[in-house]
Each structure stands twice: as C-alpha cells, then as structure tokens.
Assembly symmetry: C2
DNA sequence: GTCTATACTCTGATAGAC
DNA sequence: GTCTATCAGAGTATAGAC
C-alpha cells in the first residue's frame, strides 16, 4: 500500500509516536502531559510532532484509537466461553494503567462538546460498543441465561455507563473494584426473575 | 456571623459570582468559558474575580458546590413517597441544562488527579452520595421492595456510576434518555428474584 | 478590604527556512 | 520531514491605587 519509502517512514513514525505516547501517559498521567513532552519522548520538536497530526486533539484521539486496537487485540478476540469475560478482562487490565484511564476519561469528556474535533470519533465508538454489547446480551437471552423479557439495548447502555462511571469512582478512590462491580451488575441481570 | 459590613459584602459578591457563573456556563458550556469571561459577566477584572478564590480550580469547585446546593434544595428535600424519585428528578432536570452537565463532567474528571485542588472535595462528595444512596437501598430492602440478599453498597455505587456514565452517552447523543435508563436499572434491582 | 494594571509563564498553533 | 521562531491565549502572581 505504501507508494514510496518516505510515505512508509511517515506511517512508521506515526506508529512510533502513538506507542511512545501511550507509554509516557501510562506513566505520567494525562494532566501532566503536554505535546512538547510527547515530542521530547520521540526526539522531535513540538512542531515536528504536530507535522503528523493536525492538532493536539487529533493526536490524542489517535492515541486512544491505538489503545482500543491494543486492548481488543489482547483481551477481547480470544475464544471465550462467555464473551462478557472479555469485557471484564479489559476492565481488570485498566486498573493496571491508571494513566490511560485518566487519559480516556479526560479526552472522552472533552469530546462531548459537539465542536470538539474528536466528537464524531467518540459518537461512533459508543455506537459500536452499544451494538456489540447489545448483541452479546441478546445472545445470552437466546441461550437462556438472561430473561428474554429484559430490554437488551437498555442493558447494554447501562453496562457501558456503569463501566465509565466506575472509572471515575476508582480514580477518586482506588479501593473501589471496577471489575467486581461490573460483574455484580452482570449477576443482577442474569439472575432468574 | 458577619463581623463587619465589608465582610458581608464579600460574601454577597462571592454568591453573585457563583450564581452568575452557573448562568453563563449553562448557556455557553464549560469548554468556552474562561475565568476572564466569568469576570466580565460580573463586571470585574480577571484578577478582581480571583481575589475571591485562590485559583481557577477552586472557583469551579465552588461553582459546583453551589449547584449541588441548588439541586438538593429543589429536588431532593421534598417529602417524596419514594425517595429514589428525588434522584430521578435531578437527572431529569439535568437534561435541561447541558452546559452544567458538561461543567460537572469536565471538572469531576480533572479532579480525579490526586494533585488537583478539588480532589478532596470530590472524594468527599462521592462518599456522601454513596452513603445516602446505600441507606436508600437498605430502607427499600427493609420495606420489602428490594431483595434483602442484594448488596446495598454495590448497588449504590452502580447507580452513581450509571448516572455519571449516562451523562457522557447523553452528551454524545442527546436522544439517550438518562432518567429512563436509571429508572430501568431501578426496575432491575426491585424486581422479585 | 476591594480592585486595576501589568507582567510572567506555559500552552498549542503556524509560517517559513533548510 | 523537521527545525527555529514567533504568536495569541490561557492561568497566575503581585504591586499598588482607592
């Protein structure tokens, strides 16, 4: 797909920037990470880094896209007996990387503003997750594990909401066990009525 | 409690600043609101406004404290047959003031950083809400409306998390009905096992 | 006690040289 | 593709008028 060596190098450099950024932010948190620092970490000037991205906001959007890529590759694709376990695994993993949780929370919140450059990205991301989780619930209903009377879409939205909200609570008080709470919600949903 | 007239004036001015700020932010959203603009809105210079607060962060913390004050006074204190209705009422009201939802989401997320000046404020706020909601659940258990086998504390945390997470989803897609979803979660919890 | 004016630092953005 | 230089805007700090 690469048309020239220079193009391929550009792509490789972009990847390097994103991977390094995930690393730096995982260590330092989002709040203390400016574009200049990320530039230093890959040996570029601030302007040099922004050559690859149109703005700070697009840069961070791409960092999060890369993170999703890593997470889905590592935790969700496995052949699991219960697909919801992949969801729990991501959440369990999140408590190992507080800086990235902070990054996600911060950027997704900023992107709620319709004028934010990453707004469409997050709208789309949530729609995808709603679809995937809705299907997951319907499958469990078909398998007889969840009451078929329950509303799969509302349950899917509630799970995503709970996962997001628990991140806030966990960041404020790390003794809150995110995965435990989400699993408890799953238990509430799967119990026989 | 005021020791002198001037002191009372200072308190009144602080109140005016907070009330006006809530107004401006409700209209313009958080992202577009700088300290300078809030200062203009009350006829002060930026430094003049920050005379009343030690920093931008403390200012916004106090704005949110004021908002909690207004909300609990207006929606929760009423003598309700089902106390959870007060909770629903606040959520329903929130969808009338998107700018304030944005403000809350943004500042509470920033305050997740342990170094943020408002960190302790939010830790405390969440602990209070967890306590109140936990009691609410236990009361319903005692009244026979919720299965006494369920874990009241985890349910309380899940409700707060869902409410927070639904704000994100609603901001990204206003067709999501926050109050409807929280009421559905309540329905899940109150159904007989 | 209240407030203005000013200056300082840091951020992200951008133009233009190489 | 990358740097240097520079910019505008943000928040912060302080000296001093009233």
């Amino acid at each position: 797909m690469a048309r020239r060596g220079s193009y391929a190098k550009g792509v490789a450099k972009r990847e390097e920037i994103l991977t390094t950024a995930l690393d730096v932010i995982a260590r330092n948190g989002y709040r203390r990470t400016s574009v200049r620092e990320l530039a230093d970490a890959v040996g570029l000037s601030q302007a040099g880094l922004l050559h690859y991205f149109s703005s700070k906001e697009e840069l961070f959007q791409e960092i999060l896209r890369k993170r999703d890529e890593v997470d889905t590759g590592g935790f969700v694709d496995n052949d699991l007996e219960h697909p919801v376990e992949g969801f729990f695994a991501v959440i369990r993993h999140n408590s190992e990387v507080p800086g990235l949780v902070q990054l996600y929370a911060q950027v997704s919140t900023e992107a709620c503003d319709p004028d934010h450059p990453a707004h469409a990205f997050f709208v789309d991301r949530y729609n995808q997750f709603r679809g995937v989780f809705g299907t997951l619930v319907r499958d469990e209903q078909a398998a007889g594990n969840i009451d078929p009377e329950l509303d799969a879409d509302r349950i899917a939205n509630l799970f995503l909401a709970a996962a997001d909200g628990l991140q806030t609570q966990w960041m404020l008080d790390p003794s809150i066990d995110m995965a435990d709470h989400v699993a408890y919600l799953w238990q509430l949903v799967t119990r026989k009525a």
